[in-house]
Amino acid sequence: MTATIDAPPATPSRLATAPPRRNRSGMLLGLLAWIVGLLFVAPVLWMVLTSFHNENDAATNPPSLFAPLSLEGYANFFGSTTGASPWPPLLNSVTASVLSTLLVLLLAIPAAYALSIRPVRKWTDVLFFFLSTKMLPVVAGLLPVYLIAQGIGMLDNIWLLVVLYTSMNLPIAVWMMRSFLAEVPGEVLEAASMDGCSLPRTLRTIVIPMVAPGIAATSLICFIFSWNELLFARVLTATVAQTAPVFLTSFVTSQGLFLAKVCAAAVVVSLPVLIAGFAAQDKLVQGLSLGAIK
């Protein structure tokens, strides 16, 4: 499977080869694609628009599309009225996501090496063991984790989430990195070792640069999954180590005029993932398919 998804910049070349506009049904299908795309993005656009309205305009029926823009929602979200600042949870999310992603790479790259370039015996079994841990529902192991964390005083500690997110993403990362490392041609490594290049040096100067795009794809996916995680964070953290998704759950049962604030909160918390995802659209599909699609 060596499919490549066209990144947006590649589109013009495709357009150039398209038949001229004599095809009426072709135009209609293009129009249909636009309508479907707009339908799917509409809730996000509505979320962004509402976040920039003041609370009164946000809660009208029928909706007031052209109400004056306002930063009231954002001001409220950042604690101008309640005093509860979202910054500590946001920073906790950054800490947990970034550190666990680094830890995942540190563990996954050597493991993937031992499953591709210099494979251990029965390496396919090991690979499937990694994937099978991903299939066991996390909720089934949650209670012992909670009890152990309670016993060693790690509840409400961001390091506990770093460790758990690392284990959550490690199988995905091993699968992805293995498929990228398997692409490194054996002759290159052969040549390096003929020339007397030591193994760590081969890794550092030849292998890592060759699979750098793969490492980027892996990091992106691990970052997104850690950033989004709710169940562990909800059960295992409280006031000190709560992450951004846990902070968001305080809006679940809200009443009254708060729609602009909720939408502002959703925009702020989603922004890092949106930016990372848009910037690396072509990496996204590689990552989501565990490296099976390139």
């Binding site: 499919a3 959703a266 699609i293």
Partner: protein, 316 residues
């Protein structure tokens, strides 16, 4: 697969026949060494807790009654398996997972077919399509619950008023169709995922063969039915499998949109509640063990799918 290095290391050890065996064993361990940290870490963090769950599932343990802790035999399992709530949540889990995966696969396929053609602004439409998948799940569920479904000022009812005037019907979406509300929000998030995987499949199909089919007079439907679809099958399977793994475990949407009420509590939510609110550790663990057994059965099927994909990749 690059196993090119393998013979060389064996050849090196064969020079000294006397201690060839121990050298080879050392070589084996040198190969395993980079694997071990990841493997040991994963076993400790993900497998040991399951052993704990298994042990606690045979115990009478409720944190509200710490003095009554003891061995319970199969009581927890009997309670879990005869409990109406658990049975309902098993059914809810199946309905939720199957409907979300199937609907988003079909929609994803149709949209991928639309996007596989050249048209003005194709890259932009593709970007718009993947946006829902990049919204943090809790945030997406909050927006659907409050900004779209809300009967008084949500967008859906607002549009109904806008289209049909003051007397338009104003349904209370979540109370009237609780499970469908969750399904709709999840389909919105997961269709882009399926679309991306299927689109990658479409773009990897052999163009020369498609061209030949066209020249030989195959209709569009024939080309799709006999060439595109068989080629796409493995991509559809991959999307369905990965989607199922994530959606079967969904907690965020159920927790946010209905808080498990109105018959929408799936297994992850029910276990979370038994443990977090009812503090019934024994029973929560028994439910966890039941889930694990169910998942293993499904996972064995799923793993077979992946390994067939994998063989194809390997034989490339």
């Amino acid at each position: 697969m690059s196993t090119a290095l393998e013979p060389r290391s064996d050849a090196a050890t064969a020079d000294r026949p006397g201690d060839g065996r121990s050298a080879r064993r050392a070589g084996d361990w040198a190969r395993r060494a980079p694997l071990l940290p990841a493997l040991i870490f994963l076993i400790i963090v993900t497998q040991l807790p399951f052993v704990g769950t298994l042990v606690i599932s045979f115990m009478d343990w409720n944190a509200y009654y710490p003095d009554e802790r003891g061995f319970a035999g199969f009581d927890n399992f009997a309670r879990v398996l005869t409990d109406v709530n658990t049975r309902d949540s098993i059914i809810t889990t199946i309905v939720l997972t199957v409907s979300v995966v199937l609907i988003s696969l079909v929609l994803g396929l149709l949209i991928a077919l639309l996007l596989d053609r050249a048209f003005l602004g194709r890259g932009l439409v593709r970007t718009m399509m993947i946006t829902p998948f990049l919204v943090v799940p809790v945030a997406a569920a909050l927006v659907w619950k409050h900004a779209l479904y809300n009967p008084e000022y949500g967008l859906f009812n607002g549009l109904l008023t806008g289209l049909f005037g003051e007397n338009a019907v104003q349904p209370d979406w979540i109370s009237t169709w609780p499970l469908s509300s969750i399904v709709a929000a999840l389909v919105w998030q997961w269709t882009p995922f399926m679309m991306l995987i299927i689109l990658a499949g479409l773009q990897s199909k052999p163009h020369d063969v498609m061209e030949a089919a066209k020249i030989d007079g195959c209709s569009n439907w024939q080309t799709f039915r006999y060439m595109t679809f068989p080629h796409l099958r493995q991509y559809l399977e991959l999307g369905g499998l990965l989607g199922s793994i994530y959606i079967v475990q969904n907690f965020d949407a159920v927790f946010t949109i209905t808080s498990g009420g109105l018959g929408t509590a799936n297994l992850p939510y029910t276990i979370y509640q038994t443990f977090y609110n009812a503090q019934d550790y024994g029973r929560a663990s028994a439910a966890g063990v039941v889930v694990v057994i169910g998942t293993i059965l499904i996972a064995m099927l799923a793993l077979r799918t992946v390994s067939s994909l994998f063989r194809e990749e390997g034989s490339r």
